[in-house]
C-alpha cells in the first residue's frame, strides 16, 4: 500500500507536481518566516524602533525643487508626495523629450545622406554605451559651468541663463483670462465637429477639404481674438536680480536639467534604434504599392508606414519608458530631490526607518511600472492587427 503511494508520487504527473509545489511553498514560507523572525530579533537586539508613525512627524528639512508647497514643518508623508511628484515630473518630461529626440535620430539614421546617417550612428553608439549615471553627472558638471548668477546671460527679454538655473518670466492671470481659456476649449470642440462633418462629406462626394488648415486657424485665432477682446488679461512677472538671487519669475533648476538631459539623451539612443527597426520592418513593397496608388511621399509616411511601424515600435518603446522612469531614481547623484533622494535618502537618515521607507519607495516604483505597462498593453492591443491573431 505504502509502496503504491510512493510510486504514485514519483510517477504520476499530477501527484508529483502537487508534491513539488507543496515543497516549494513550504520552503518559501519557511524562508520568509526565518527572515522575518531574524529581522524582528535583530531590530530588537540593536534597539532600532520600527513602525510607520514617523510619517506624521515634521520633516525638519526644506526641499527647493517641488511642485507643491513644502516647508520644514510639513510631515515626512508630505515629503514623500513632493518626492513622488518630482519623480513623475522628471519621468514625464524625460519620456517626452526622449521620444522626440529618438524619433528624430531614428529617421536621420535612415536618411539618404551618408554623413547625417553616420553622425546619428556615432551619437547612438556613444550615448548608449556609456552609463546613464556618468552622463547625468557629466551634463550636470557642464551646466555648473554656465555663467554665475551675477554674469547671467539674458537670452530674450526676461529669460536668463545661469548655473543656478534657467530663469523665465512667469504668467500672471488676471480677470477675464478664464474666458480666453474657455474660448480655446470651445474652439477645439468645434473643430472636432467640423472634422467629422467634412470627413463625411468627403466620403460622400470624394471632394477633399483642407481640414487641417481650417481647424488650425480656428484653434489658434479664436483665443487670440478673445485675448484682445478681454483687454489682454495676461501679464508676465519677469525675474530681477536682487541680492543673492533672481526674484520673481519661474526657474528651471540645473539639477532638473541635468537629469532631463542625461535621461533623455541616453534613452533617445535606444528609442532611435527601435524607431529605425520599426520603419525598416514595414516592407518596401508596401511603400512602393502606396506610391503606385499615387499617394504623395508625406502621405505614404503618415498613412501607411507610421501606423504599421508603430505596431512594431510600441512594445520596445514601453520598456524604454519604464527604464527611463526607473533611471530617474539616480537624482541622488546630483541632488535632484526625487523619491529616492528626498524621502528615501534624507527622511530615511533622520528617522532610521530603513525597512519601512525602502518598502514604500519600492512599492511606489512597482506601481508606476505596472501602471505604465498596463496602459501600454491596452494601447498596444488597440493598434494590433484586428482579427489577425
Amino acid at each position: 500500500m505504502e509502496s503504491y503511494f510512493v510510486r504514485k508520487l514519483i510517477f504520476d504527473e499530477k501527484s508529483r507536481s502537487l508534491l513539488i509545489q507543496t515543497l516549494v511553498i513550504g520552503l518559501f514560507a519557511l524562508f520568509i518566516y526565518l527572515i522575518a523572525q531574524q529581522t524582528a530579533y535583530n531590530l530588537e537586539k540593536r534597539g532600532i524602533s520600527s513602525g510607520f508613525d514617523f510619517l506624521n512627524i515634521s520633516a525638519g528639512y526644506d526641499i527647493s525643487i517641488r511642485l507643491i508647497p513644502f516647508t520644514s514643518e510639513d510631515t515626512h508623508l508630505r515629503a514623500y508626495f513632493v518626492g513622488l511628484l518630482n519623480t513623475l515630473m522628471i519621468a514625464v518630461c524625460g519620456c517626452f523629450l526622449a521620444t522626440i529626440m529618438g524619433f528624430l535620430v531614428g529617421v536621420i539614421r535612415l536618411s539618404s545622406n551618408w554623413l547625417f546617417r553616420n553622425i546619428a550612428y556615432v551619437y547612438v553608439e556613444f550615448t548608449r554605451n556609456v552609463p546613464v549615471l556618468l552622463q547625468i553627472i557629466l551634463y550636470y558638471s557642464i551646466l555648473l559651468h554656465l555663467p554665475k548668477i551675477k554674469q547671467a546671460i539674458e537670452i530674450f527679454d526676461g529669460f536668463f541663463l545661469t548655473n543656478r538655473g534657467f530663469f523665465t518670466p512667469s504668467p500672471i492671470f488676471k480677470e477675464g483670462f478664464s474666458i480666453v481659456l474657455c474660448s480655446f476649449i470651445v474652439a477645439i470642440i468645434v473643430s472636432i465637429f467640423i472634422k467629422r462633418i467634412l470627413k463625411k462629406k468627403q466620403e460622400q462626394t470624394g471632394k477633399q477639404y483642407p481640414i487641417f488648415y481650417i481647424n488650425s486657424a480656428l484653434i489658434i485665432l479664436t483665443p487670440i481674438l478673445f485675448y484682445y477682446i478681454m483687454g489682454r488679461p495676461l501679464e508676465f512677472d519677469t525675474p530681477v536680480l536682487k541680492g543673492f538671487n533672481f526674484k520673481g519669475g519661474m526657474v528651471i533648476r540645473p539639477e532638473f536639467l541635468g537629469m532631463l538631459f542625461g535621461l533623455s539623451i541616453y534613452t533617445a539612443a535606444f528609442i532611435s534604434e527601435t524607431v529605425r527597426s520599426g520603419i525598416i520592418a514595414v516592407s518596401k513593397g508596401q511603400r512602393e504599392a502606396s506610391q503606385a496608388l499615387g499617394l504623395k511621399n508625406n502621405l505614404v509616411m503618415r498613412l501607411i508606414v507610421i501606423p504599421q511601424a508603430l505596431r512594431v515600435i510600441i512594445p520596445p518603446l514601453t520598456s524604454q519608458y519604464l527604464n527611463l522612469t526607473k533611471n530617474s531614481s539616480l537624482g541622488i547623484a546630483i541632488g535632484y530631490a526625487d523619491l529616492v533622494h528626498g524621502f528615501g535618502g534624507i527622511s530615511l537618515n533622520q528617522t532610521g526607518r530603513a525597512i519601512e521607507i525602502m518598502l514604500m519607495v519600492m512599492l511606489t516604483y512597482l506601481t508606476i511600472s505596472l501602471t505604465i505597462s498596463l496602459f501600454m498593453n491596452i494601447y498596444n492591443k488597440s493598434v494590433q492587427f484586428k482579427g489577425n491573431a
Partner: protein, 370 residues
Amino acid sequence: MTAFSNQSLMRNKYYSWIIKNLFSSWVNSLMTVVAIIFIYEVGTFFLNWAIFGADFRTNFRGELITDRTLCSKNISPGEFGACWAIIYARWDQFMYGFYPIEQVWRVNFVYVLLPLAIIGILFDKLPFRKYFIYFTFIYPFLAYFMLYGGPGLSVVGTNKWGGLLVTLFLGVTGIGLAFPLSIVLALGRRSKMPIVKSLCVVFIEFIRGVPLITLLFTANVMLPLFLPDGVNPDNLLRALVAVTLFQSAYMAEAIRGGLQAIPRGQIEAAQSLGLNYWQTTRKIILPQALKIAIPPIVNTCIGLFKDTSLVLIIGLFDLLGIGRAALADMTWTKLYYEVYVFISLVFFIFCFGMSRYSLYLEKKLKTDNS
C-alpha cells in the same frame, strides 16, 4: 591601358557613390555641407582639447605635472587643452583601487586570464574549445583565490578593491551567478505548476519593476538585518547580491523569449521518444533556446555592466567612484572632463565590444538558420 580603365572605373564608382549618398538632391547637398561644417567644428575642438592641445605627463613648459596647478590651462589663460596627468597619477587606483601595490601582480594575473576564461564561451568553433570551457569553470575559484588570498597568499579584504577591479568583479561575477538562477526562473515561469509559476512571475516582475538603486540600498542597509548573527557579507558582497538578483530577472526574460521560440512539436517529439521533463529540457529545449537567447542575454549584460556604476551611491569605489574620489582630492580637483571622458571611454570600449559581439551572433544565427 587596362590599368587606366580600371582606375577610371574605380573613380566612376566612387563618383557615383558620392553623388548617391551626398549630393542626390539640393536638400541632400545642403545637408552634406551642414554636416561637414558640424564635423569640422566638433572634431577640431575635441581633438585640440583631447590630443593636440592637451598635457599628458608634462605641461607646455616641460615640467612634470604633479598637481592641477601645473596643468597648462591653469598656468596660461590661452591654453584650454585637457590635463591627462590626473589619469597617470591615479592610474593604479583606476585599475586596482586601494589594492596593496606590492600585491597588484595578482590582479594583473586575473585580468590577463580573463579573456582566456571567456573566449571558450564566446566562439563555438574555437580549436580545443573543450579545454577552454574547463578553464572557464576553474577560473572563478582561481580568480577568487588570487584576488582575496588564502593559503600562501596574504588576504586582501574587499574594502581594498576598487576601480576597474570592482566594476569587472561585479559585472562578471554578477552575470556568472545570475545565469543559472535565470534559467531556473525562466523555466519556472513557463512551468505548468501554478505555485512555482506565480512565485517566479512575482519575483521577476518585482525586480524588473523597481530601480536597481533601491535594490542596492536594500541589500546594503537591510541585508544585515535579515541575516543571523555571524553572517555579515561585506559591502561588496551585498552589492553583488543585489546585482545578481537584478541581472537574473532580466536574463530570465531573455531566456524565456528563447524558450518561446522553440516549436511545441519539438517537445512533443522528445516526449514521444520517452524522454522525461528534465531530459527534454536539458537535451532538447535549453541548448536551442539559449542559442537563440544569447543576443538578448548579451544586451542585458551590457546593461548590467553599465549599471555597476550605481554602486558608487552606496559608497563602493568602482571606476566612477574612484574618479569622483580623485576629483575630491585637493591636488586634482576640478579636472571633471578629463576624468569623466576617460571613464566613459573605458565603459565604451567594453560595452561597444559586447554589442559588436551580439551583432555578430545575430548575423550568425540568421545564416545558420537559413
